[in-house]
Point group: C2
Chain length 467, copies 2
């Protein structure tokens, strides 16, 4: 990366900034697990205190009805653009714990990587935005544009409380566009613009076949086995080729244009390295599409968890009476999450074997797919900043993950979201041994300073938002 | 049950005997779980001490290489028959714990039933045999026949160490036949002779699709999902009708004769009550056979446990990298456990989806199926005893469960096994809320005294055993 006036500033303070990131990572703010409710508050308080220390004049922890929201505002000039800085302080559950090299909430640097749950998704990115505000406060007395900080605590559970909160707080959250510190670069050497994200919808399914697990010698072979019935049901969601076999699942999917296919084919992609980093190969999936097309623009269905019966050491000759399944779908335009949930329900009802009681529960937190308009001035400014810093054309990439809030900001605030973040696809987000590069933690801050300065030169035509 | 001279004896001591059973049940002697190794020793010591207290002259705890064996001998007269009394002091794992009304190792009486892990399988039966020896010691100075006590600690894990032990200790274990206190009556009102048991064989299967669980938005839909792959594999073990689809599985199965079918049809069987007791119905299984035929004389395959991916509260959008399956088969003549394991292995190799690494491990502890010769004098004596006590013809029943040791005693000692026990099919053996009737705990002791007296009048032609 080219030197900028920010380079020295962040290099001088790197050890101190890493210390702070470690303190933040040590708070196990797992939004999905009720046992961590207190940790969620601690993480929110930590971020709010750090924003105040950075010099942000208005900082509040706001009640959303769910996990608290950290809000900040630094208003410098009404004629300048206003960017909302989006990040999240919640993290994924850390299990399976035994696959972590070091404990998930005891961060450690190895080989230039910061290991710890939330390092890449998204505490590294969140802290970066605070450090950027502090850098401007230190060197220029304040940021070059107006900033609204929006750090949520429900990203990993689909932002259920945040959506109505944004609707209620439209005035306070007014902005021209959103910069998301939750996102990623395409790889270590390729600056990139992420222009679309998938939506998400899912469900939990429980099958019951008896009032209790029974002795397989007294009942087995004559009554439904809940684990086996679940195997049959779980196997029914795809056909043998890897295509999702839920009726109607593909009905609203917009076909790929030749231009889309070309753009995706143009992205530098080392498939062996990408999949090899997690010890796997792209040997499965919907036929007729490349791995990147499947990841980015084709809808998918994943079994996230499945269980029933005895899981201990040794053997236990039971016929299980209960079994469980967790399923999520990644959605593309123009799929509708609520409609997909109803298709999943109809599928589960149809494919639950006879003799089972089936309980279906939609997953809390769904999201529409989202795409950034290609001509959005803040997207163009991001591209220009990256081009200048890295002296190469940024790759136009997409993401198979979901940031549900993007579509909410667009609908409620009329604000499009630009992803500007330094995590990497291989960083084990949502998996054991999550990491974030030490260099990227510093370079992301430098590049964000450059981006905000670039944005100061742009004037936005406010779009009107319908109530 | 008719009054006998033993009735008063056991009624007078019922409270005290229940106290002792409770003390025994409080020891969590779970043979499958390494964490309970100390409890296994405690349970063995408890049983040995109680045998000594009962008056049994020779009592030892013997090292089998695995869980200890409690051995006792009361030799009264070489001209009298020698019966080995078989029972087991180990119990099944208690999970799922949340389905127990009261904790599994804190026994409690409710509605005339003793609830606790091991109450019916098999600590109630084991203690009964000690109390019977004590009753004879108290009232007659000793038992009416020679007794060898053999209380093992590996029944619930397939008796892996006991088998070589029996082979090594043939002389010490010499006997004419075995009376098993592990077994059951057909129902509360039907005295019964159990004339056959199924064999057992099984395996564990693990599938690996990546080096770590991965983010479903970054990898899902393009790489194999280990949970989904396991669903496909697990669902492949049966066809849609409920017939086992493992190639060769039925090849050695002896066809049912019309006489067998008639004998089974003659057994009083309230199907609604039997299956209704555990909240299920016999609505599934191999076509062409009645539920009792499937349970007793047709081989079955059960998934005992299956798991992969996220099992916590809420959602976690991972594509699981590992999944697990535990399978057991209940076998009938002339199926061979080792051969069945190889058929399971071949099936798993053939049906593991592409892109998965498959690990196959045979289950420790398998058993051949076993049938008692219908003209065995000790079986006839059991029938006569029950006929006299209950004034009705005992039902001839079979059991879908397995007692691996039966076939070992036959092969190594030339001793057939007679099941003479008071547990019931509905007693939740291997399941939460296991129970044993208070009345059966007493009546079983009375009936066992009567049986030993009946056996004293029989002379056995020793069968020669090949070395």
């Amino acid at each position: 990366m080219n030197d900028t006036k920010w380079t020295q500033y962040f290099q001088d303070r790197q050890a101190e900034h890493l210390e702070e990131l470690f303190a933040f990572l040590r708070i196990p703010s797992v939004s999905a697990l009720p046992a961590h409710e207190r940790d969620m508050s601690r993480a929110a308080e930590w971020a709010a205190a750090r924003l105040r220390k950075a010099g942000v004049p208005e900082v509040e922890i706001l009640d959303t009805g769910g996990h608290p929201l950290v809000y900040g505002r630094w208003q410098v000039d009404a004629d300048l653009p206003t960017a909302m800085i989006y990040a999240h302080y919640d993290v994924q559950p850390p299990d399976p714990l035994d696959l972590w090299t070091t404990p998930p909430f005891e961060p450690e640097i190895r080989d230039g990587r910061i290991f710890g749950r939330g390092a890449g998704d998204d505490k590294g990115g969140l802290l970066t935005t605070i450090l950027v505000a502090e850098a401007f406060a230190t060197l220029s007395g304040g940021p070059p544009i107006n900033l609204v900080f929006f750090f949520e605590g429900e990203e990993e559970i689909g932002s259920p409380s945040v959506t109505p909160f944004v609707r209620r707080e439209r005035d306070r959250l007014a902005c021209d566009f959103v910069i998301s510190a939750d996102g990623m670069m395409w790889n270590e050497s390729t600056p990139s613009l992420m222009v679309s994200m998938k939506g998400i919808a899912g469900c939990e399914i429980e099958l019951t076949t008896a009032s209790t697990d029974v002795h397989s010698g007294l009942f087995g072979g004559s009554v439904r086995n809940a684990a086996q019935a679940m195997a049959e049901l779980a196997a029914s969601f795809h056909d043998r080729t890897g295509r999702v076999s839920v009726e109607g699942f593909y009905d609203r999917v917009v076909d790929l244009s030749p231009a889309d296919r070309q753009e995706i084919a143009d992205v530098p992609f080392d498939s062996d390295a990408y999949f090899g980093a997690v010890g796997t190969k792209p040997e499965w999936g919907e036929p007729g599409y490349s791995p990147l097309e499947r990841l980015w623009v084709r809808p998918t269905l994943d079994i996230n968890g499945m269980w029933g019966g005895f899981q201990g050491d040794g053997s236990k000759t039971v016929t299980p009476a209960k079994s469980h399944l967790k399923v999520t779908c990644r959605l593309v335009p123009d799929q509708e999450p609520d409609e997909i949930v109803e298709l999943l329900r109809a599928h589960a009802e149809r494919f639950t074997p006879a003799g089972c009681e089936m309980m279906f529960r939609p997953m809390a937190g769904s999201a529409l797919p989202y795409a950034v308009p290609r001509d959005h001035p803040a997207l163009l400014a991001a591209g220009q900043t990256l081009r200048e810093l890295f002296e190469q054309e940024p790759a136009v990439v997409r993401i198979g993950g979901s940031i549900p809030i993007a579509e909410v900001f667009k609908r409620e605030l009329g604000a499009e979201m630009i992803l500007y973040a330094w995590s990497l696809p291989a960083c084990n987000a949502h998996a054991p041994d999550e990491w974030y590069r030490v260099d990227d933690f510093r370079d992301g801050a430098i590049a964000t300073c450059a981006y905000l300065e670039k944005l100061a030169g742009i004037r936005f035509h406010k779009t009107s938002v319908q109530g």
